[in-house]
Symmetry: C2
Subunit: 613 residues, 2 copies
Amino acid sequence: MEKCKITFYPINKDMEVPVGTPLKKAMDDAGLDFDFPCGGRGRCGKCRVRIREGVVPPSESDRVHFDEEELKDGYRLACTLTVQEDLVLELPQEGVTGHKILIDAAERSMEIKPHLQKVHLEVKKPSIEDQKADWDRLRDELTAVKGDRDYSITLPALQALPKVLREKKFSITAVFADHEVTGLEAGDTTDRMLGIAFDIGTTTVVGYLMDLLTGKELGAVSTMNPQTKYGADVISRITYSSQEAGGLERLHKAIIEAVNRLIGEAVEKVGSRREDVYALTFVGNSCMHHLLLGLEPRYIALAPYVPVTGSTQEMNAAELGIKINPAGKVYVLPNIAGFVGADTIGVILATELDQSSEIRLAIDIGTNGEMVLGNKDRMLACSTAAGPAFEGAQISCGMRGTAGAIDTVRLDDDLTYTTIGDEKPIGICGSGLIDVISMMLEAGIIDFRGRIPSPEQLKGNKFADRIVEHDGMRAFLLASAAETGHGKPLFITQQDVRELQLAKGAIATGVQILLDVYGIGYDDVFEVILAGAFGNYLDKHSACAIGLIPSSLEDRVRPVGNAAGTGAKVALLSAAEYRRSARIASFVEYEELAAYPKFTEIFANSLSFPKKD
Amino acid sequence: MEKCKITFYPINKDMEVPVGTPLKKAMDDAGLDFDFPCGGRGRCGKCRVRIREGVVPPSESDRVHFDEEELKDGYRLACTLTVQEDLVLELPQEGVTGHKILIDAAERSMEIKPHLQKVHLEVKKPSIEDQKADWDRLRDELTAVKGDRDYSITLPALQALPKVLREKKFSITAVFADHEVTGLEAGDTTDRMLGIAFDIGTTTVVGYLMDLLTGKELGAVSTMNPQTKYGADVISRITYSSQEAGGLERLHKAIIEAVNRLIGEAVEKVGSRREDVYALTFVGNSCMHHLLLGLEPRYIALAPYVPVTGSTQEMNAAELGIKINPAGKVYVLPNIAGFVGADTIGVILATELDQSSEIRLAIDIGTNGEMVLGNKDRMLACSTAAGPAFEGAQISCGMRGTAGAIDTVRLDDDLTYTTIGDEKPIGICGSGLIDVISMMLEAGIIDFRGRIPSPEQLKGNKFADRIVEHDGMRAFLLASAAETGHGKPLFITQQDVRELQLAKGAIATGVQILLDVYGIGYDDVFEVILAGAFGNYLDKHSACAIGLIPSSLEDRVRPVGNAAGTGAKVALLSAAEYRRSARIASFVEYEELAAYPKFTEIFANSLSFPKKD
């Protein structure tokens, strides 16, 4: 079969593929962490690449998403491109660079008592007077030292036993979880035991390397979730896994490979080996949880939206194809509901919401804004279909929080903004969007219903000349073509404002319904905990100004960073906390918002912006 | 590479191999269950084949084991033959036919309560008012039905759950062991649950297919242990596994493959499928136990002779590569010592020796004669190095109990014998050997020291003319060339008598030492239990006449057939009996005979035959 060569810039990667190969497939095969937000269906127009050498006739989708100038300049959507000849392609910078993620999190105090324990034993050698079998000999010594009986041993450990026992003259370290010996090491290795707490996000996967003996965090690693190329959000991945043959298996393998890669990176950072890692914990939303474990996620997305499990699940790492110490175990935190996952359990564990006397509200803002309201006596949780606006999707110039994203905006004498990495702007991320909308509201460039007035109506307003027509609708000019990194102007369109209203309205609706069901008002909420990296970047005044968070609670807002990840760390360092997570999952009451009688009314009321006093 | 074709008769198998391939390797590759008693070292001369077409120059070993006539007739040892051209080979009949084995055994009464249980559940469907996750829903139903809490589920079962639950409208059968759900089946399948009890012998592997619901035996299957081609006895297999690269792995795989084959055969016999088999139990001597589990057997054969484990070991069938229901489990009975294995535990379980008030002696006669003496208060076990004489090895015309083997002999007016399968004799098996020696003793053709007198000394004895010179020593003519199946005469040589003396002396020594240690005499022994097929074929009068069993106990001898296999069945049908086997293993005291102070003296005294009254 005839082959073509593809060269990718700026990463300088070459590959050969048969003529007629879809570029998406080639990029998957090449292992590029490239983003196809709509799952490669030619809809979102985000997967743009530029042809530097070679001829590619524009597709129908290309004609929708690019103008004649751009098409002439070689811009094409990667998802509809089929390779017919040798090509040199340029990848957009944000498609291949790392994300800005928050890996520090407020730590809570806790007792360190991990799932696996190690004990060093000096075992008495057998003799003709004492012919006890190797395992019985070891077990009796273990029983003597630990004061516990009924230890069992796994087959792989039993297979290793005779050799390991004799390697250092019957000086041996036993690794065990509960009453099962899962690993054996020659000599005394009780000074080495690492673990990794993973937070599997829809977009980003983060792993925290922990010393299981001291509880110290040794480092963090992160990568883009490689499943992104099969769909940016939970729903498109569920669709992919259900409708594509082998889809579930492919998504499952992709995340397992990413986890294995991150483990390798993490141990390399501290000069350790995979074999020093004995335990992993995982949090993630229900869909990420299911794909990690190879569980069918289809019923999450179909009424009545049930996950496969709402319990903790543990297994040998090898069962999942995860490469750590052969004795290594995996502990997965439980889901609360189809759209309130183990990541929310992580937030509760991290913030100890379940042990609080005061009533607190924890919100994790993302594509689905999950929230929990309550205290030790009662907890309510819900998920709101906020949509991906806060992550930059569905917004005309939206992008994730990577280099070149506008992340804060001020409208004072003039319009000023900052960008991530101090680069020329190429789009706007969630925190920037909330900022600019709140500023536009304050400056009167949006009314409380979300409408952008005409330049005529704004006569006298110093930003009136920024109101233009764009794509057949009214828009606010954020940055001119001259200012931007890609030479194209950035706008906030009327449609963008509507998208933001839907997103913030969804979250405000969730808060309102939880308060209603709980039977309390704003004043009863002691604290609003903002979980997730986004909470740290968010300007809380802006968030309150647009009505994302009730204004009366502005002073009680506390961002806690990646609390879900902290929860994973807590469950890694303490078997008791992990077991507590199972109790939390069955204790939290899940509220299906759409089934709430006054849902439509509350949602409609939440779409408007707060009127200015 | 140039290839040669080999054709095997009488099984009509063809194969192609590269020039220069050792015939042993070719036969291994072809999957022939051919017997190399000495492990293929050209020593024992038992692996004879006959060249029907093609030229093979005789090897040095061939010249030792065959005379000119035989060499001319094309007889060669398979183990030293290298294939240099196309060959047509004839395999001896006993090398490829099935063995005579005993698969019926005295059953004992017991309560049937297998390890795995099934329960059918009609699970309530989820709704928007009841969004409990699939597993939590199932677990709560299971808890309600069984009145037990804290059920967990394996990852494979969890992965199967959403589909299986919806296959028959939330009617589902859960398979569980202890508190772990290991399998799920749509609808009500509680009427189907099979198990197989395996007895892994050094020579023969037997599997008993059992209905786990009724306890009924549905059939039995057996095959030659395929490890035989790597060595006939325990020691040569330990040597092979320790000294050949990948040896342990090869022996392990060979037995697992045989087990998988037998499972297929067993279920086919009754029109079932592998998926209907949920549990397996295994007994075997310590070496077979270790090779089954892939455990290093080397330390069994090195002082102080310790096995890797003396405890029960359970695992998922899949962990061992055994193909049954994915939820299937394997339960392996414990060893007592390096040379007293799980088969002896099986004998104790089957005969309830551990619950007996009277003191009983159980003997399993084989290459290693294992025996247990005692009752519920104390049990002693030992292993005697009887050697393979009772299995026909080391005996000039010895063979295993297959077609054409002389199995009973009488010396009355004339010499008469019977053969297995009523065929012309081609050798003698263990029971025939004991018979003929006892008859020769009675007829005065052997004195009590085991010496065969000269024809002159026997003048007047009607069998005197059967005393001849053979292979440079005195011998007794058992069958003339004209009578035999292969046209060669059969003899009992002076050396054969010596081999038998060593074998029976070893066993008698074991009995004597156990009695001494226990502090009792023959009269205190209530019963002598002969376990193993051999016990059934043995003439107990002959056995006592040669001193294998003390004459005073002749009336108390009870053959029980394959009691080890019965023990495996008992442990399969009852989890409680399986757990009891672990207690038995730690309760039995193992006596190392060679370390017993008066060992040499007792052994020397045991070599002679009992003097006639």
